[in-house]
């Protein structure tokens, strides 16, 4: 993973502004598994950050530590200069989590009334109903709401305290295309008010389209961190895929003058600036077959940086 991490300095914020998130050296193990293995993350106020990574990359564990739902084995987390628990007590941070449950026997409005009653200062319930797009189902029992509506309710609950930092774990799961679109337009309207947003997603296009910055996690570490453009530039050129039994990735990389050749079974993947030359070599000098050339996109960067081959 030596080439993939982009050095990134803290983005400029107003002088004296505390970062929304300041995490250093976070480590969290579950038994023998190091779910989070040394994560440093600083998020400036007002940034919209996408947290990308395959399942088991450590995104949710990292988020749990940012929210004080889990205690790091080592390392420290501060949210607006406070401990996560203190930040929550002040209503400075809220979250929409995959695991967050709802009471099925109360109405949408009652859920929000209840949540609002727990904070010192909140936005009006009618306002968050409107902003989450669930005003017309306010009197419906939560148990009768669809998955997408329940997700919007969680979003409305997170908006109640008007948090400085909003953390979303796979926020649009269960929403249809239109629901997703209106959800993100609400988030963007929010960010314009100075809200910091950190969201985990497996929809690459969501990260690409809505985030200012992408933090890519793989196997408990941050493997790339930068703007969408920076991340895409990490791997320039095109990708050549081919089936080549018994390929020696090191020899092949040296022969082709490329940084790295990934091998998965008989399938090889080569990122290159000169895909024609690579393809010609493969087809003429080796028994390679099923050659494919694809353009670089966020997905291929994602795959390149998180696949098993990347650390080989």
């Amino acid at each position: 993973m030596e080439t993939s991490a982009l050095p990134r300095s803290t983005p400029p914020a107003s002088p004296g502004a505390r970062p929304a998130v300041a995490a250093t050296g976070l480590v969290k193990s579950f038994g023998a598994v190091r779910a989070v293995d040394g994560v440093d993350l600083t998020v400036a106020q007002g940034e919209i950050v996408a947290f990308l990574g395959p399942n088991g990359a450590g995104k949710t564990s990292t988020i749990d530590m940012l929210l004080g739902l889990a205690t790091p084995d080592s390392g420290s987390v501060q949210v607006f200069g406070e401990s996560p628990r203190a930040a929550i007590a002040h209503g400075l941070v809220s979250a929409v989590l995959q695991t967050g449950g709802l009471l099925k026997d109360v109405t949408v409005r009652e859920t929000l009334d209840l949540t609002a009653s727990l904070f010192a200062d909140t936005r009006p319930v009618d306002e968050v109903l409107q902003r989450a797009g669930i005003a017309e189902i306010a009197e419906r029992r939560v148990g009768l709401c669809s998955g997408g509506q329940q997700q919007r309710l969680r979003f409305a609950m997170a908006l109640l305290s008007d948090p400085g930092l909003l953390i979303l774990d796979e926020p649009t799961t269960g929403m249809d295309v239109e629901g997703r679109r209106s959800f993100w337009s609400a988030i963007r309207a929010d960010a314009a008010r100075g809200r910091t947003v950190l969201f985990a997603t497996h929809y690459l296009e969501e990260a690409d389209e809505y985030a200012d910055r992408i933090v890519l996690m793989s196997r408990g570490r941050i493997v790339a961190d930068g703007t969408t453009t920076e991340i895409k530039n990490l791997v320039s050129g095109r990708i050549v895929h081919a089936t080549l039994p018994g390929a020696d990735p090191v020899a092949l990389a040296a022969q082709l003058g490329v940084d790295e050749v990934q091998v998965q079974g008989e399938r090889i993947t080569i990122g290159t600036k000169d895909s024609d030359a690579v393809a010609r070599y493969l087809l003429t000098q080796t028994p390679a077959r099923d050659v494919e050339i694809t353009p670089q996109n966020l997905e291929s960067v994602f795959l390149a940086l998180t696949s098993d081959g990347a650390s080989a």
């Binding site: 929210l67 004080g68 739902l69 607006f80 929550i88 007590a89 002040h90 209503g91 400075l92 979250a95 989590l97 695991t99 967050g100 449950g101 709802l102 009471l103 099925k104 026997d105 109360v106 009652e110 009334d113 209840l114 949540t115 609002a116 009653s117 727990l118 904070f119 010192a120 200062d121 409107q130 902003r131 797009g133 669930i134 005003a135 017309e136 189902i137 669809s146 997408g148 509506q149 919007r152 609950m157 997170a158 305290s161 008007d162 948090p163 400085g164 929403m175 249809d176 239109e178 629901g179 209106s182 337009s185 609400a186 963007r188 309207a189 929010d190 314009a192 008010r193 100075g194 809200r195």
Partner: protein, 280 residues
């Protein structure tokens, strides 16, 4: 999804009001009457709760107790102001209702934890202990309703007690059943997550109520059963609650029984609660 309301209104005024980072922390760990009110409403809306905690004891009293309205409980004839067996059964049934309500508090904690609601609450300033206390108050309120309903059924159907007997047995039954069985319910709720908690506690309550003599007088049980019954958690508190009627005076063993079970359940709950909040 049916809701596609546009969010342009939010976007329209977005630039004018910035998110403010100067915040207050709510007092009393987040305890408030809105939350308590919603908890109460939830209990009262639940048909199963109403049937098992309020309707059941009233109906049982009518079926078992009412025919014994003329049978004196003690040596004092009813005509001379002595309590009837019906009064004794009325207090037992009222306690059963209070016990049911109290244990459901704990079972609810188990269900809500399994549903992830506890985790959701961890994203609010609400102190986990305040959450449990709020639920306990709602549970105790429903228990009081069960006691009052059963006593009202008794009064209407001719049970006559002195003011001291009404209040003494009612209050002690309500508070003792509430304290011991809220603790038991919470313990089960923390140990057994999910819907199973409710089923396990309901079953436990019925069994313990039988053993403790709520449905069948302990004194009429075989000797070995009487010995066993004296060590079960319903026995002590129900004997204490009915003492104003029987005129037997407090037996130290009843008090020890009640206190011992209270300590066991509270200690277990504290242990389980700590374990639970640690991992959420």
């Amino acid at each position: 999804m049916t809701s596609t309301t546009s969010t342009t209104t939010a976007a329209g005024r977005a630039l004018t009001d910035r998110v403010d980072l100067q915040r207050r922390v709510p007092p009393f760990g987040g305890f408030n009457l809105t939350y308590l009110g919603i908890e109460l409403k939830r209990r009262l809306r639940n048909r199963r709760t109403l049937i098992f905690t309020i309707a059941f004891p009233v109906v049982m009293f009518v079926i078992i107790g009412l025919p014994l309205g003329d049978q004196p409980l003690t040596g004092t004839p009813i005509a001379d102001g002595g309590p009837s067996v019906a009064a004794y059964i009325m207090v037992s049934m009222a306690m059963y209702g209070a016990m049911m309500s109290a244990t459901q508090t704990g079972a609810a904690v188990g269900v809500e934890r399994a549903q992830g609601w506890s985790r959701q609450l961890r994203l609010t300033p609400l102190n986990p202990l305040v959450n449990v206390v709020t639920k306990m108050i709602a549970g105790m309120a429903l228990g009081l309703l069960a006691v009052v309903a059963t006593f009202a059924a008794g009064a209407i159907s001719g049970v006559q007690l002195s003011a001291a007997e009404w209040i003494g047995s009612g209050l002690s039954g309500w508070i003792l059943a509430g304290a011991v069985f809220t603790a038991l319910g919470l313990l089960v709720g923390y140990l057994v997550p999910g819907e199973n908690a409710a089923q396990i506690t309901s079953l436990a309550i019925v069994l313990l109520a039988f053993l403790g003599g709520l449905f069948y007088p302990v004194s009429s049980m075989p000797d070995f059963m009487q010995t066993i019954a004296a060590f079960t958690p319903v026995y002590g508190i129900s004997q204490i609650a009915r003492a104003p009627l029987t005129g037997e005076g407090l037996d130290l063993l009843w008090v020890i029984n009640a206190l011992a079970w209270l300590v066991v359940f509270v200690a277990g709950t504290v242990w389980a609660f700590r374990r639970d909040t640690k991992r959420v």
